[in-house]
Amino acid sequence: MVQLAMPSLDLSFAALSDKTRRGVLEQLGRADASITSLADKFHMTLTGMKKHIAVLERSGLVVTEKVGRVRTCRLGQRGLEAEAAWIEAHRKLFEARFDALDRIILEMKQEEDNGPANA
């Protein structure tokens, strides 16, 4: 059932396990880019970058489009959204928790400084 709902998740995680590919996604999050410019940016051969892009494309994380002689890459929708949304939900939740925890810890510290609360 999960597979039906999220066909690209499994592939996404394989795709995300590589540091360069995560970098490429980050880069594409800022702006679309050609494979050539990505190869330059990550100091690798065009062939090497093409392989990374192929993995990202299979997972649905990236889509490419050839216009004239240039193949442009941009972020795909599904896989990334599912994982990114999940991570972001955790980050928001824990940030809210930990900000509240900070306040409690501050209280505890002040209590320690002042001795027992009801002394």
């Binding site: 999220m6 998740l9 955790h90 939740l93 928790r97 509240a100 925890l101 409690i104 501050l106 505890m108």
Partner: protein, 166 residues
């Protein structure tokens, strides 16, 4: 609150979330207090219940029973204002005061095992919250659950509930 302005930078310490492998999620955060203090806020129910559920989450902790010692159990019940509650429960597999708490999440068959560690860093505490799912499929399912499309007012609850069980 003046003391805060003096002793603490205005910006909060950043909360890092990382999917460490296909079965693991890791959250890290630095706290400006020693481990024994931060640990207490996790181990004493009356402190824990004051921060575990964010105020603006639209849900409340209805009850909070925690026996934080190795072999002890916990049960947290949440409600959204109506009569329905949702319970999260499990067992503490390992509790080392000021250092480590490990618990199971048994409301789901394929629930994660959560490990929280408190690491002393010169009087501060590096806190690591680590979830290990029994399989990749279990984590995918948790993720698919939280990513499922729901009406807007339920979005927040949906994002929150899987993680609160964690």
């Amino acid at each position: 609150m003046d003391q805060r302005t003096h002793n603490h930078p205005v910006a909060q310490n950043p909360t890092e979330v990382e999917r460490k492998s296909d079965r693991e999620l890791v959250v890290t955060r630095l706290f400006d207090a020693p481990p024994q203090l931060v640990f207490r806020a996790w181990a004493e129910p009356e402190l824990f219940r004051r921060w575990w559920v964010p105020k603006d989450a639209g849900i409340m902790l209805v009850s909070c029973e925690m026996d934080v010692r190795t072999g002890g159990t916990y049960r947290l019940e949440f409600g959204a204002g109506g009569n329905d509650t949702m319970a999260f429960h499990g067992k503490y597999l390992e509790v080392v005061p000021s250092a480590r708490i490990v618990w199971t999440n048994e409301e789901e068959e394929q629930g994660a095992v959560t490990t929280v560690t408190f690491e002393d860093q010169g009087g501060k505490t590096l806190l690591t919250f680590h979830e290990l799912y029994p399989s990749k499929e279990a984590l995918d399912e948790a993720m698919a659950g939280s990513a499922a499309g729901l009406p807007t007012q339920l979005d927040q609850l949906d994002e929150l509930l899987p993680a609160i069980g964690a």
